[in-house]
Structures are given as structure tokens and as C-alpha cells.
């Protein structure tokens, strides 16, 4: 009993629900890009909620670049493929349209591309203080008794990459990494399974840290690629088996 993990009770507000339904309709293609959304008053009636709740939902859609609102005119649906930001990735899982396996592959491919360059840049730009805290990272983990389980290792591994990306001095990488990590966390089981090889390879992680702290750009990039490539291949295999 004490081992059972309870999930937080999902408590969606009315405007959350409205947001999700509209988002799914847009991302799922039920409403075409360029089409006009019904008026707020009409939507409010259809959803059976107050107009204010609809407005809050539409504000979120606007922020996510899924719709374009114009005072006096209609609210038009945008083409999310050419307008939405990377954050939408995490929300894509709910509404189909893109197969889960392909979404995972996209994420890990991008993780590879960014990770390799971030590792190289980190090796080039890391400050001595940041290098110090990075150096202490794997040490702690590898000396732990009893040996940490996979979930714990996964968390530590994420933290490692967060440090590397932060050390790269590239704010775009950092923000993109946030979106990617979050997208992967939407499918925790699959993500953990696919990433097991790299998560448990503490030796490679150690090598990576050494390369970065010793400002060896080429080595950092090489080890990073070696590490991240595995998940890309695993995801590619996953896509193939499902086709």
C-alpha cells in the first residue's frame, strides 16, 4: 500500500475544459485554418458556460498562436503547423493527428541536434564556477548506496542536461529544452524505456562532464552524440515497427 503511487486528482476548471476542446478541434483539424470561430456568445451557449470562461480559453488559444482575435471582426483559426511554438508539442499528444511514435522521434531527434551543439558550446563557454558544480554531479550518483532506481537516474540525467544546456549560454536551447523535456514527460513510461541505455551509462556521462569541464569541444560533442543517438535509433525503430 505504501508503495502505491497516487496521481494528483485532475481538477480542470471550466475554462480549461473549453480551452482543451477548442484546441483539440483546431489541432485535430476539425476546424480548418483560416476558418472563423463562432462568436463568443454563441460558444458560451454551446459549451453551456459563461462568456467570460470562453474568453479566458480564447486568450490561451491566442497565446499559443492557435487563433487570431480581432476586435470587431471574427476570431480566425491559424495554421498551427506554421504558427504555433514548440510548447505545443506537449499538448499534441492528447489530440491525435500526429502518431505518438513519430512525435517521440521528432522530440529525440531535436534533442540530439540541440544536445550535441549545447555540449560543444558548454565546453567552450562554461564558467569555472559552473564547471565545479557540474563536476560534482555524477560522482554523487555513482557512489550512492543502495544503487538508485531507474526513475531516480532519469531525474538525475535530466538535471545533468539542464546544467549542460544552461552552461551553453544559449537561451534558445534552454527554452527549447524545457519544451522537449515536458513533451517527453507526457509519455513517462515510453520515454523512460527508450532512454534507459543513456540514463544508466554513467561512464559516458562522466566522460561528457570531463570533456566539458576541460573545454574539449570536440570530445564533448562526440560523447554527447554517442549518448543521445541511442534514443534516436530506438525511437526510429519504434516508428518502423508501428508502420
Amino acid at each position: 500500500m505504501s508503495q502505491v503511487v497516487f496521481a494528483p486528482v485532475a481538477r480542470a476548471s471550466v475554462s480549461d475544459d473549453v480551452y482543451r476542446q477548442l484546441r483539440d478541434a483546431i489541432v485535430g483539424g476539425t476546424v480548418e485554418p483560416g476558418a472563423s470561430l463562432a462568436g463568443e456568445r454563441v460558444l458560451a451557449e454551446q459549451f453551456g458556460v459563461n462568456r467570460h470562461a470562453v474568453r479566458e480559453a480564447i486568450r490561451r488559444l491566442e497565446q499559443a498562436r492557435l487563433v487570431e482575435v480581432s476586435h470587431g471582426g471574427a476570431t480566425r483559426v491559424l495554421d498551427w503547423r506554421t504558427h504555433a511554438g514548440l510548447e505545443l508539442l506537449g499538448e499534441l499528444g492528447a489530440s491525435v493527428e500526429v502518431a505518438p511514435a513519430e512525435m517521440i522521434r521528432s522530440v529525440v531527434e531535436m534533442r540530439l541536434a540541440i544536445g550535441v551543439d549545447a555540449a560543444r558550446l558548454a565546453a567552450r563557454r562554461i564558467s569555472t564556477s559552473a564547471a565545479g558544480s557540474l563536476a560534482g554531479h555524477v560522482e554523487v550518483l555513482s557512489r550512492r548506496e543502495p544503487a538508485p532506481d531507474l526513475a531516480e537516474l532519469g531525474i538525475a540525467y535530466d538535471a545533468l542536461w539542464r546544467m549542460i544546456v544552461a552552461a551553453s549560454g544559449n537561451i534558445a536551447y534552454q527554452l527549447a529544452d524545457n519544451s522537449l523535456v515536458e513533451a517527453l514527460q507526457r509519455v513517462p513510461d515510453l520515454a523512460l524505456q527508450l532512454s534507459e541505455p543513456e540514463i544508466t551509462d554513467l561512464a559516458a556521462q562522466h566522460e561528457l562532464i570531463v570533456a566539458i569541464t576541460s573545454h574539449d569541444e570536440a570530445m564533448a560533442a562526440e560523447v554527447a552524440e554517442l549518448l543521445l543517438k541511442r534514443m534516436v535509433e530506438a525511437a526510429a525503430a519504434l516508428v518502423d515497427t508501428r508502420n
Copy 2:
């Protein structure tokens, strides 16, 4: 007179204004991550607006992962460096904290990393129909009389990359590209200036298209890197001169 380009009149709504002020305070570090925002009623009074306007602004902040709202509890400020998505990049310019030059460098570095891989993937995965429309791209441009000006070339160049990224079959790249392009468009002059070398190099663009349509992954990646690297170097030089 007919040459003068007028900018659209900025027409910020009340909740837009509230959003911007709160966002700038958070991104600018005026309010610390983990701190609580004042209550909606208090904020409404401080801003001199209705509570609904504040709520709509907070919804957008929540969507952008800048705050975390909990019913009954306080609205807490998140650390945008570890929570916000790539879309924030475009909004970062307004509030300082990150130097413009470094932001540009971040963007073009990421553009390079993603572009090279997207080109390679496009060469691997492009469909014959997509290859056809891609092939017709530069042709049109290089035969134009009179020669198109820089702005036009820039638009065509963006379109080219959009096609390539779409052809890569990687939805994450596509969404990330949206955010990057938008971020660059916030500083149109600087972006156009820095990207002039690659925009005007129609020969390289042609090579890239040929490589992709003929499924030559290595060549596609090579030409893409050659093309995109220039802007990274220009941006790096810009950062240096400003330090």
C-alpha cells in the same frame, strides 16, 4: 511618400497591457521565481482595471508557463529559464535581462543546429511531390526581372527553409522554426543585415535544393551548414564588438 512604410497602429487592449507589465516584471527579475503574485482583486485595483482583465492576463501568463495558478492558494511565479517554452524568445526582446546581441546569437546558433539536421532529414524523407514543389523554388527567383530586392529575397529564403523543415518530417523542428523565425522578425533590420550573405547566395540555395531532392543527405547537411554558418559567425562578431 509612396515609399514610406507605415507601421500598423499598436492597439493594445487593457488585458494586453496588464499581461505585458506582469510578463516584463517576471522576465526582468523584478519579482523572484517562487514569489507570490498579489491577489487578483489587488492587482485589478493597482492596474486600475477590472478583475476580468487581470484574469485574462494571468491566463496568458499561465499558458506561457510564467506563473502557476492554484484555486484557493496564491498565484506563484515560476522560473522562466526552466519552465517557459521557446515561444518566449520573441517576447524576450522587450524586457532586457538578456542582451539583444546574445539573443540573436542564440537564435542563429539554434537555427544552424536545427537547419543542418532538418536538411539531412529532408534529403532522407522528402516525398516526390514535395520534391517537385521544392525544385521549382529557386528557379522562379533567379529568373525574375527586375532583380528582387533584399526584403523580397529574405521572404523567399524563409519560405525555402519552411519547406525544408516541413519536408524533414520532424514536427518539433517545424514548431521550433516558427518560434525562431518570429523571434528574428522582432528585430527585422538587424536580422536582414546579418542574413544578407545567405539570402543573396542563390547558388548555394540551388545546391541545397538539388542535394535534398536527389536524396543526398551528406551534401544537404554540408551545404546547409555552409549557408547557415555565416549568420552565426556574424552574430558572434556582433556579440564581441558589444562587449
